[in-house]
C-alpha cells in the first residue's frame, strides 16, 4: 500500500483506467436498459387526493371558526366587563339620590312649614285665618327644627298676650292715649 501511495500514475494508465470506466458504464447502462422494469404503483392513500384535501380544508375551516368564536366570546366578555365598569357610577348616583331623599324631603317639609307659617301669620293678621292654635299643633306634630319651635313659641306667647309683638308699640300708644 505504501508502494502504491508513492506511485505516480502515468497518462497512459490514467487513460486506460478511464477507458475501462467508460466501458463499464456503457455495459451497465445497456444491461439496465434491457432489463424488464416493474412499474411501481405509487403509494395509494386510503382516501383519494381530493378527499384528503377537502378533509384538510374542512378541519382547517373548523379550527378557524372555533378560534373566531373563542376570540369573539372573549371580546364580548371584555366588552360586558367594560360596560359594567362604565355603568357602575351611574348606578351609584340614584342610590346617592335616594340617600339624600330624606334630607330633601325634610327641606321640602320645612319650606312647606315656612309657607304655612307665613300664611298663618297673614291670616291671623287679617283676622280671617284658621285657628292658629291648631296650626301650631300641626307644626309641632311635624317635628320641625328648633328655630321653628322658637318661632312658634313666640307666636304662642304673642297670642296669649293678645297683642302681637309687632303691634306692641301701637298697643302701648293706644293705651297711653286712652288713659289721657
Amino acid at each position: 500500500m505504501s508502494e502504491r501511495n508513492q506511485r505516480q500514475i502515468s497518462d497512459e494508465e490514467l487513460g486506460q483506467a478511464i477507458g475501462y470506466f467508460r466501458q463499464s458504464v456503457t455495459a451497465w447502462s445497456e444491461a439496465e436498459s434491457g432489463r424488464v422494469r416493474i412499474v411501481r404503483q405509487p403509494k395509494s392513500s386510503r382516501f383519494p387526493a381530493w378527499l384528503t384535501w377537502s378533509m384538510a380544508g374542512t378541519v382547517a375551516a373548523a379550527c378557524a371558526v372555533w378560534v373566531l368564536m373563542l376570540a369573539g366570546g372573549q371580546h364580548t366578555g371584555r366588552q360586558q366587563a367594560m360596560q359594567a365598569t362604565a355603568t357602575a357610577p351611574k348606578a351609584a348616583m340614584p342610590a346617592a339620590t335616594s340617600a339624600e331623599e330624606p334630607t330633601r324631603a325634610m327641606a321640602s317639609a320645612a319650606d312647606k312649614r315656612d309657607t304655612a307659617q307665613a300664611a298663618a301669620i297673614t291670616t291671623e293678621a287679617a283676622g280671617t285665618g284658621p285657628d292658629v292654635a291648631a296650626a301650631s299643633q300641626v307644626r309641632r306634630k311635624s317635628g320641625s327644627a328648633d328655630e321653628d319651635e322658637q318661632l312658634l313659641a313666640d307666636i304662642d306667647r304673642d297670642i296669649a298676650q293678645g297683642t302681637p309683638q309687632a303691634l306692641a308699640p301701637m298697643a302701648g300708644w293706644m293705651g297711653d292715649s286712652a288713659e289721657q
Binding site: 500500500m1 502504491r4 501511495n5 506511485r7 505516480q8 500514475i9 494508465e13 490514467l14 486506460q16 483506467a17 478511464i18 475501462y20 470506466f21 467508460r22 466501458q23 463499464s24 458504464v25 456503457t26 455495459a27 451497465w28 447502462s29 445497456e30 444491461a31 439496465e32 436498459s33 432489463r35 422494469r37
Partner: protein, 179 residues
C-alpha cells in the same frame, strides 16, 4: 394541423430512439440510480417532445437533450434536498457494485480483475467530485464530447469547463495513485 404535426412527430420518434441510450447512460453514471435515471430520461424526452416544435437546430440535438437532462437532474437534487422529510427512497448503487460491470473484451481473468479494480477507483473519485466537476468529467470521458460542446451543454465557458475537468482528472489520478 395534423399534416404538419405528423412529420414532426416522426422526426422526434427517430431522435428519441437514437439518443435515448446516451441520455440514460449519462444520467445513470451521474446518479448511479437506475430507477431515477429511467424516470429522468422519460421526463427529458417528454419535455423535449413538448418543445420539439420550438427547437431551431441551432445546437446539436444531443447537446440540447443533454442540457434538458442536466437541468432535470439539478431539479431532482434540489427537490430531494427540499423534500428531506418525505420518504424519498434512493436506489443509488454502491460504487463497488457499479464497478463490477465490465465489458467482456478483457483478455485474461487477471486483466479483468485489474480493470475492475481501476473502475472502482474511478467511481470512487467520481463520487467525491462536485456536481459540476462530475458532469464535466462524465460528458468528456463517458459521452466523449468536445470542450466546446460541454460548454454549450452546461452553459459554462470553455475556460471554466477546462478548469473543472482538470480538477476532476487530478482527483481521479490521485485516487488511482492511492492518495
Amino acid at each position: 394541423m395534423a399534416t404538419n404535426d405528423a412529420p414532426e412527430q416522426a422526426g422526434f420518434d427517430a431522435v428519441a430512439r437514437e439518443y435515448r441510450p446516451q441520455i440514460y447512460r449519462f444520467l445513470l453514471s451521474s446518479l448511479r440510480d437506475p430507477e431515477m435515471a429511467e424516470t429522468l430520461t422519460q421526463e427529458c424526452l417528454l419535455k423535449a417532445h413538448r418543445n420539439w416544435a420550438g427547437f431551431r437546430g441551432e445546437s446539436q440535438v444531443l447537446t440540447w437533450l443533454l442540457r434538458i437532462a442536466i437541468n432535470l437532474q439539478k431539479d431532482q437534487w434540489r427537490n430531494r434536498r427540499l423534500q428531506f422529510w418525505r420518504q424519498t427512497t434512493t436506489h443509488a448503487v454502491d460504487v463497488s457494485e457499479a464497478g463490477n460491470w465490465l465489458a467482456s473484451n478483457a483478455s485474461s481473468p487477471e486483466q479483468q480483475v485489474a480493470a475492475r479494480e481501476q473502475v472502482k477507483l474511478v467511481w470512487r473519485a467520481v463520487e467525491k467530485l462536485s456536481g459540476r466537476q462530475r458532469t464535466v468529467f462524465l460528458l468528456r470521458h463517458v459521452e466523449e464530447m468536445e470542450i466546446a460542446e460541454i460548454a454549450e451543454t452546461t452553459g459554462l465557458s470553455e475556460g471554466t469547463v477546462k478548469a473543472h475537468l482538470s480538477r476532476a482528472m487530478g482527483r481521479v489520478r490521485a485516487e488511482l495513485g492511492g492518495r
